[in-house]
Subunit: 208 residues, 2 copies
Amino acid sequence: MRARQDLISEGDRPEHVHLVMEGLACRYKILPSGRRSIVALLIPGDFCDLNVAILGEMDHAIATMSDSRIVQIPRSTIDELIKTHPNITRAFWWATLVDEGTLREWLANMGRRPSDKQMAHFFCEMFARMAAVGRARKGRFFLPLTQEDLGDVLGMSTVHVNRTMQRLREMELLDFSDHEVLIRKPDRLIEFAEFDPNYLHLGFREDA
Amino acid sequence: MRARQDLISEGDRPEHVHLVMEGLACRYKILPSGRRSIVALLIPGDFCDLNVAILGEMDHAIATMSDSRIVQIPRSTIDELIKTHPNITRAFWWATLVDEGTLREWLANMGRRPSDKQMAHFFCEMFARMAAVGRARKGRFFLPLTQEDLGDVLGMSTVHVNRTMQRLREMELLDFSDHEVLIRKPDRLIEFAEFDPNYLHLGFREDA
DNA sequence: CGCTGCCTTGACACGCCTCAACGAGCGTGG
DNA sequence: CCACGCTCGTTGAGGCGTGTCAAGGCAGCG
């Protein structure tokens, strides 16, 4: 799929479950005021809408951020797997629980951290996730977001995103330009952001 | 359990899954700065930590807000159910997906709404949820939170919680004192808060 | 060449936080 | 029985963080 296209809209009851193979997508909501809130980013390996298999109706929309490769899996296939393969069901469930953990972290991050730490924390998370699926090398990874998108992720205005980024750059923690992130001083960034990846449950899946 | 006690702490790997029968509990995180963020409220009928059954380790803590009645279910029982009863697994999964939807709504709420609407939205949600489990009558329900707690839910300071509440009271939308909420003008409150309960997936479970 | 999208900057206003103090209710102990 | 200390709600003053508005620059592209 091309960049900036809706995979699914709020209220849909799609017949397929989507899985990101390549590229970047996001979950978002549009509020009555017209403002957008991005509530999750989906990277290769992430399911977009396992919700649908269970809940039926989407309570948010999903769109691509960049050109992406997306796999569609018929809902009936998922249903079948759930009925017959407890282990796979468990894995699916596991995936949604990790999503949930990430949401909690974002919520705490947004509610109780100053904007620079919040932003730093976000980049730490993306780095950890991208690295976990082999999409980061030497502190570098591709992140096709504009500053406006970032604002919708972090809940701040574009102007403030811009200024906060400049501060992180001046602190020599990271660079972000041309859709590429470069982590300059990983240790100091992690320390500054107070980043603890436990909520991502990356580990070696020993807990599954 | 008595009020204000931890059911589970971050990092625990408890042997039981907890279910709230009576009272109120919350999920929360303490940030390194010492600030608390409450990321969910658990009312009668809510599971506290199905996470544990799948993920193993808690990435947040859970505490009671009021005296509560809590049921403990051995983890092994849950495991057993998952292995042998796809329908029950599906129901558990359903529950965590609803939690997730609520988190997304809180996130959008916190990031992109002014504080008065955010607060109004929160009360709408609690009313809807309490009503759904028969804990609300005539626009009244019990909510054992202090203004400080509310601040940790909404991501604002106690002082600002206080002032925002006064505004909602002056608008004659609702009252909240002595741990009791009274919705004065439900229609106007819902309109003001731009509340749409779809994300709670209450319905009649037709989508399950 | 003139779009258009995105980043950047400045000025200004306001929302919200912090600090500080006070009052009301309430349980506890003298 | 009253004094005390606690928690919680309330208020005021002042300052900083962020949002808004507006303008300009730069690169890509038709």
